[in-house]
């Protein structure tokens, strides 16, 4: 062991930070979820009480529902759009570099800036979208107060931000497919649509799986979007907008832990949520895998 001290020394800065700021905290939050703790007084062991309360807490289930709906509404168009754009981009010769950069740039802007922008454009009273609808004679649509439209706006925002990112990944996958495979298909008389579904998609399956997993992990963690969109802070406790239609689970966690100072319950929320993410990742993984066998 001693002869390896240099290697251990080299990895130790990272592992010390990792231990202190990630590893221990993750397990400490599991420990917290069995305690009642407001951050100031003493901790009190309550066993599974927090989780029992969670199970019967309608706001928690509302937040789960909201998160899942927003996730589906954003992930499906994002991944589908990314695949279509990547295929188109792969087929052109000119301006490739320009398209890649122009389509990726939404991903490097901050969520806060984008959320503020969407809030302004979809504003009920005078937003650009309603103004344009008005000139065509359509009466204003309550984008930011209707429970469904709130979710649609958040999902649109996420779709706008993440389509370019996934497109880049798909494009890299497409470029790795040897051209000879396509030539063989063309010899057999397959058209572009058939080629796409019978050659491109099956070969791309591992990469699609990767993006599905990443999107599930990222998409379920929406927090900043509704938080900024509805400008909620300590003074304005109406989290998630009217009817809490935009209250995602992480926003509810934030409210419980940091606004209500209920640390134990906050920890229970994130851990329950984490289990849900795992389940969804496994389900998604299974679905994409099963397609391979058929």
């Amino acid at each position: 062991m001693l002869s390896y001290w240099r290697q251990y020394l080299a990895i130790s800065p990272f592992y010390l930070i990792f231990l202190g700021f990630s590893f221990v905290p993750v397990f400490y939050s599991l420990y917290l979820s069995f305690q009642r703790y407001d951050g100031l007084g003493t901790k009190q062991f309550v066993g599974l009480q927090q989780f029992e309360f969670l199970w019967s807490d309608p706001v928690f289930w509302l937040s789960i529902r909201n998160t899942l709906i927003i996730w589906v509404l954003s992930t499906v168009p994002t991944l589908f759009g990314a695949l279509v754009l990547a295929t188109l981009l792969h087929s052109v010769r000119r301006f490739k570099g320009f398209y890649r950069i122009a389509l990726y740039v939404p991903n490097v802007t901050s969520i806060v800036a984008v959320a503020i922008f969407f809030g302004a454009v979809f504003s009920n009273d005078f937003g650009l979208v309603n103004a344009i609808l008005g000139t065509v004679g359509i009466s204003p649509v309550p984008w930011l107060s209707d429970p469904w439209l709130i979710k649609v706006v958040i999902a649109l925002l996420m779709t706008w931000m993440w389509t370019g990112y996934n497109m880049i990944i798909y494009l890299a996958g497409l470029q790795a497919i040897p051209q000879s495979v396509y030539e063989a298909a063309r010899m057999d008389g397959a058209g572009p649509i058939r080629t796409f579904f019978q050659i491109t998609i099956p070969i791309m399956r591992p990469i699609i799986l990767f993006t599905v997993v990443i999107s599930t992990i990222n998409g379920l963690q929406s927090f900043s979007e509704p938080q900024v969109l509805f400008a909620s802070n300590a003074a304005n406790q109406n989290l998630g907008g009217p009817g809490q239609a935009g209250l995602t689970t992480l926003l509810y966690f934030y409210q419980s832990a940091f606004l209500d100072n209920d640390y134990g319950y906050g920890a229970a929320i994130v851990w329950a949520f984490f289990v849900l993410i795992i389940v969804l990742v496994v389900i998604n993984w299974r679905i994409v895998q099963r397609g391979r066998k058929s």
Binding site: I17, F21, Y99, A102, L128, L171
Partner: protein
């Protein structure tokens, strides 16, 4: 599709396959318009008055009120103060991430040592965990050691990012030949000289990608600063921006001027380094799958 498949005349020429009918450029340009529109519209809003934008039909062209709106931002919040905070945090974080991650990645990529697999495996598992699991204890930790409200409370947790190590290790494994390290060893270079003089210069592209990745991440971070920077003097740009947006009578032109001022530096940096960055991002993603 009901289109009859007509056998194509084989001209023998090597032409890329091309969808029939409309050019792909048409769709791509449309996508670019959607992608870029928010940036353009942000500038339109920031250069007009809120009243001009919100009348019907709205004003769709650039106006001349940009300076006025910028002054509004500067009067409302301490914009440059928070920008300075953000620059400091993002730069310090980036430099430390590069150093800490590359050192560990080098050891993982090129040396055998007991526990290597387990240690690295732990990283991979943690990369999958949602960061929010750790947020609450991190905050408790910060209040225990008295860092709440201080800028260093942002830097340290950002350093425990496993992605950098995972990504650099891959790059070093393929990009730094063993022969070169052997040669250096024969010349008497020890572990750290091999790292500093041989490996580091060879992984510059990977380092510059990770630098932009870390910088952009630190610049755009919102949740953690919102939670931990309770001191109004030490707010970051994103928190300040969100602050601008709060209130019942929002002056949207002014807010958009703020959004513009906060986004422009980053978009410019991205535009300059975009090629290398995108190439790096795909490399990690495709190999990582």
């Amino acid at each position: 599709m009901t289109t009859a498949v007509t056998p194509r005349p084989d001209t023998g020429a090597k032409r890329p396959r091309r969808p029939k009918g409309l050019s792909p450029h048409l769709f791509l340009v449309l996508a670019v318009v959607i992608s870029v529109f928010p940036f353009v519209w942000t500038i339109v809003m920031a250069t007009n008055t809120t009243r001009d934008i919100y009348k019907s039909p709205p004003k769709l062209t650039f106006g001349s009120h940009l300076l006025e709106n910028i002054r509004g931002v500067l009067d409302t919040v301490d914009f440059f103060g928070s920008m300075l905070n953000t620059i400091v945090i993002a730069s310090v974080t980036t430099v430390l991430v590069l150093f800490v991650d590359s050192l560990a990645a080098f050891a993982f990529a090129k040396f055998e040592f007991p526990g290597r697999r387990i240690l690295f495996g732990t990283l991979l598992v943690f990369m999958m965990l949602p960061l929010q699991l750790a947020v609450l204890p991190q905050f408790i930790l910060m209040s225990e050691i008295g860092w709440v409200g201080m800028l260093k409370a942002l830097v340290w947790p950002a350093l425990s990012n496993a992605f950098g190590i995972f990504w650099l290790r891959q790059y070093i494994e393929n990009g730094v030949p063993d022969e070169l390290l052997d040669a250096a060893r024969i010349d008497g270079a020890g572990f750290f000289r091999q790292y500093w003089n041989v490996a580091l210069p060879m992984i510059k592209p990977a380092l510059s990608f990770l630098a932009i990745y870390a910088f952009v991440g630190a610049w755009n971070d919102y949740v953690w600063p919102l939670i931990v920077l309770t001191n109004p003097e030490h707010v970051t740009l994103q928190v300040e921006l969100a602050q601008l947006n709060v209130g019942h009578n929002t002056d949207y032109s002014m807010v958009m001027a703020g959004v513009l001022m906060a986004s422009l530096p980053l978009v410019l940096v991205f535009a300059v380094f975009a090629r290398g960055f995108i190439a790096g991002a795909t490399e990690g993603a495709v190999q990582g799958s």
